[in-house]
């Protein structure tokens, strides 16, 4: 499949090479292992493959079939059709990393614009050209902070309100740094206590980095200004993990004084797609630009003085610096960054604000309605953006099964990761949830509460 060679052409080529048959090209391969039989099903034609894949796809129920109130790090937003129309273009889709600027200005300028939009949205000086996702961006922030102090500070503090998967990923990434301790996220008895409170006593002169989230994993908003000041007073860096959609409405994390802003870029026009590919946002202050991981595109000129873009500060990267690189990242998520660039451009200033407000308004309407159901209450305990905690009268799994019967994808079961939060559901509401959907959720919960 997809091989263009005709028999005649193959023969002619073998003659030029000077071998008789294709097998002769593989003499270097140990004979006992050569040409194994692969246990794969017979090849399908395109027509058959479509049938097989369609069947698998139909075996799922998704956010088009169910009213979705599930978030917890991945959100159901509307993606304008123009996003896909642009990223499908072969010129973007089938190009490689833009190492050759003369024939890659399209990708390069798009990445430059991505960097600009992210810097503006987060309130930071610079953004890199993407990480794999929010979790790995957070891990890279930790790695950067560690190296920023040349290993002399050996403590990294993670707020317990940072996405559990991000925290796990940081730990996995850094398990080889044996002198390092990663702490701060022991979940207190009252898991809802402010991260500012839990962390305040722990920041010291050995702290390389403090990581908080905004809105936090529970959807809540805290002003981190004081905490950042406290960290800076100790010489530590602060990383704020954020949801870029919230920043259409909310103060940029840069305004709190963050040194690094990371985030999951998926809400910016990326399909849920069962978890990936998504987009790792990473922005920082100019001071750290030589320390960050990944690709950076800079503006310059060509020989005739025309504005041009090029990958820059490559001496940070693995292909130049090898074992001395700031990170091992090579392939990132360029096309997803492009999609988010198109999304941010299409929505622009007014659309980004509007979507954020819709999320906020609808979430608060939903919260109010749910709070009025006997047995249910909203217990976020702080202002929230578009996700909130519902205290339920029964195990979340049970409630979700009931909701599923009503065509509703319920919220995230907080008890899974936070034992102290048994029977608490994290409910996410976006612009995609019509009032009808919210009312149906409320009715279904009422029904449950009556049963």
């Amino acid at each position: 499949m997809f091989i263009p060679h005709t028999n005649d052409e193959r023969e002619a080529m073998l003659r030029v090479i000077g071998v008789e048959k294709l097998e002769d090209l593989f003499r270097d391969v140990p004979e006992e292992f050569r040409f194994p039989r692969l246990n794969l099903p017979p090849a399908l034609t395109e027509m058959e493959a479509v049938e097989e894949l369609s069947e698998l796809a139909l075996a799922n129920e998704g956010t088009r079939d169910l009213a979705c109130f599930l978030g917890a790090g991945a959100y159901n937003h509307y993606i304008p059709a123009a996003v896909d129309a642009i990223i499908r273009r072969g010129e973007f889709l089938t190009a490689y990393t833009p190492y050759q600027p003369e024939v890659s200005q399209g990708t390069l300028q798009a990445v430059f614009e991505y960097q600009s939009l992210i810097a503006n949205l987060t309130g930071m000086d610079v953004s890199n050209a993407s990480h794999y996702d929010g979790a790995t961006a957070t891990a890279e922030a930790a790695v950067m902070a560690y190296h920023n102090f040349r290993g002399k500070r050996t403590k990294i503090l993670l707020a317990h309100t940072v996405h559990p998967q991000y925290r796990e990923t940081v730990r996995t990434y850094m398990q080889g740094y044996t002198d390092l301790t990663i702490e701060g996220d022991n979940v207190p008895d009252d898991a809802l206590v402010s991260p500012c409170d839990t962390l305040s006593g722990q920041i010291d002169a050995n702290t390389a980095l403090v990581v908080v989230q905004y809105p936090d994993f529970f959807g809540r908003l805290y002003d981190y200004t004081e905490m950042v000041e406290a960290a800076h007073a100790q010489g530590a860096l602060v990383c704020i993990a954020t949801n870029p959609i919230a920043l259409g409405l909310l103060k940029a994390p840069g305004a709190f004084g963050a040194d690094i802003v990371v985030g999951e870029g998926q809400p910016l026009g990326i399909p849920l797609s069962f978890g990936g590919p998504y987009l790792g946002i990473f922005a920082t202050k100019k001071d750290y630009v030589r320390k960050i991981a990944g690709r950076l595109v800079g503006e310059t000129v060509d020989g005739e003085g025309r504005r041009a873009y090029v990958l820059t500060l490559t001496a940070r990267e693995q292909h130049i610096r090898r074992e001395k690189a700031t990170s091992n990242i090579c392939t990132n998520v360029g096309l997803i960054a492009l999609a988010s660039t198109v999304y941010m451009s299409l929505l622009g200033k007014s659309g980004l604000r509007k979507v954020a407000e819709l999320c906020y308004q609808k979430a608060h309407y939903a919260a109010e309605e749910i709070a009025s159901i006997p047995g249910f209450s909203v217990c976020s305990g702080a202002p929230f953006f578009h996700e909130f905690i519902v205290c339920c009268p029964a195990p979340v799994e049970e409630i979700n099964a009931h909701l599923l019967d009503h065509g509703i994808l319920g919220g995230y079961d907080l008890g899974k990761e936070f034992p102290s939060m048994k029977d608490r559901m994290l409910v996410a509401v976006t612009e995609m949830n019509s009032r009808d959907q919210i009312d149906a959720l409320v009715d279904a919960l009422k029904e449950f509460s009556n049963d």
Partner: protein, 487 residues
């Protein structure tokens, strides 16, 4: 024509895509948290479509032409892959849905795990890594976990041949290891003496790319693996070059302990101008327990009439979670489609024709360009982009001049062990006519190097822009554009 930036296109008050008004009663905005300005562009939908259409036209791409970028496997990316990944049943599923509602996704992942096992000879697979380098990190952490699990914590070194890709040493360092470089011998294989000299009880493992970045199958591979194993180390396979081996040899059979796949190379998922990729990792049986959390398994076996129930399982001694959720699912759908459409015979044909194409190019070019390691190559080969009689002309000049002939240049200056390296990987999806015109262009350029070297030094001439000032970029460091002042 220089294309304005999206900020330069902005006009205050212009609106692009609209959203409905709220259909719920209003709630006051959260006090103290509302941002004052939102410096994002204000453009119309048409502005956006045109802008990115213009930008796209400045790119070279596989869809537009031959892209023989060594080590990157720039093969045709089938259009059907894109359709399949966009099927609503796949694209509109949330990663945290109850498994009962995503049995299609899980079945696909489970089967893909099986297929990758069958292709590679490994015993267990994680689909989670997001790219090759991510897979490397996972693999090295697995090696680390393996040693530690056995109470063996004095192994501090990863051996890396000098021909290796930069991600290999970088990944090793992130995983906490010291990197020891190993020489390549005159035939382009790992130098066994150098290897023996450094293998000891501090050796955690070796990262081996085979075929290596010279495009050569390491004839010593069995010895290399044996030597490392005998020292108590494990052998990591960098699977970036797996395209040459499909149906030819299974790395698991040869004794590799762990390897990453690059679905965006071998299995035709698009490169997207720099990702997203996908870098599943396969491991031998003794490493299965260390795979990242979670893997897809059958949690309730099927019956004659009912499908099994698929779910997530947590390997006993897992290195932990390495990213959010479950890998680049959209890429998995594409790779699944590709493997389904090729089958066992197709796999072998891919490797055979990738190798055929590379050897054909090498045969036609080797009298004009010096090929330092002249034996039969695999899916790619490395030649020198320089001529003894015109020392001024460099690989870079040849690369840039190729653009004027409408070809993407080969990878250059990698691997580091070849001077002025030009690393050429044609892939199996290119036809003889294309290969012949590429050769013709390179032969022509070799003549131009003699007759008019300036033509090369000033190249490219026929691209949207000429050579760029990289020094200025790094010195002035303009990494963002900002909202122009309101009119």
């Amino acid at each position: 024509m220089t294309e304005p930036t999206i900020y330069e296109l902005s006009s205050p008050g212009r609106v692009g895509v609209r959203f409905p008004d709220a259909d719920v009663p209003p709630t006051p905005l959260p006090e103290g948290f509302v941002r004052e300005d939102l410096p994002m562009p204000e453009v119309s939908e048409l502005d956006v479509v045109r802008h990115f259409t213009h930008l796209s036209a400045l790119n070279y791409s596989i869809d537009a032409g031959f892209y023989p970028l060594g080590s990157c496997t720039m093969k045709y990316n089938p259009k059907i892959n894109e359709e399949m990944a966009r099927l609503p049943g796949f694209a509109f599923t949330h990663p945290l849905q109850p498994v009962e509602t995503v049995q299609g996704n899980l079945a696909l992942m489970y089967v893909l795990q099986d297929w990758l096992k069958a292709i590679s000879g490994f015993e267990a697979i994680t689909l989670q890594p997001a790219a090759g380098a991510h897979g490397e990190l996972v693999g090295i952490l697995i090696i680390r976990a393996y040693h530690h699990d056995r109470g063996d914590s004095k192994r501090t070194k990863i051996l890396v041949p000098d021909s290796a890709h930069g991600t290999n040493p970088a990944s090793s360092v992130i995983a906490g290891y010291e990197v020891v470089n190993i020489k390549t011998d005159a035939d382009g294989n790992v130098d066994l003496d150098s290897l023996r000299a450094v293998c000891d009880e501090t050796t955690a493992g070796l990262m081996l790319t085979n075929p290596n970045t010279l495009g050569l199958f390491d004839c010593n591979v069995k010895d290399v693996i044996r030597i490392v194993h005998e020292a108590g180390g494990l052998v990591y396979g960098d699977g970036a070059n797996l395209n040459a081996l499909l149906g030819i040899v299974r790395p698991g059979d040869v004794g590799f302990d762990v390897m990453h796949f690059n679905l965006h190379k071998t299995f035709s998922t698009p490169h997207g101008g720099g990702g997203p990729g996908s870098g599943p990792v396969g491991v031998a049986a003794h490493l299965a327990d260390f795979l990242p959390d979670p893997v897809v398994e059958i949690v309730e076996p099927g019956t004659a009439t009912e499908a099994p129930l698929y779910g997530f399982a947590h390997p006993a001694k897992s290195i932990g979670r390495i990213k959010s959720f479950h890998g680049h699912f959209g890429m998995l759908v594409r790779a699944f489609t590709y493997i389904a459409m090729n089958g066992a015979e197709g796999m072998r044909a891919i490797a055979e024709h990738a190798v055929l194409n590379a050897n054909y190019l090498m045969a036609r070019l080797k009298d004009t360009y010096h090929v330092p390691y002249g034996r039969i190559c695999m899916h790619e080969f490395v030649m020198e982009g320089k001529f003894d009689d015109v020392p001024d002309v460099r690989a870079l000049d040849i690369a840039k001049r190729l653009m004027d002939y409408k070809f993407h240049p080969p990878t250059n200056y990698f691997p580091l062990i070849v001077h002025e390296a030009l690393m050429i990987e044609p892939t199996e999806t290119e036809n003889k006519q294309t290969l012949d015109s590429f050769v013709d262009a390179l032969l022509q350029i070799a003549q131009e190097a003699r007759s008019n070297p300036e033509l090369l030094k000033q190249a490219p001439h026929d691209t949207p822009i000429g050579r760029v000032d990289e020094v200025k970029a790094a010195k002035d460091l303009v990494l963002c554009c900002w909202m122009p002042d309101a009119v």
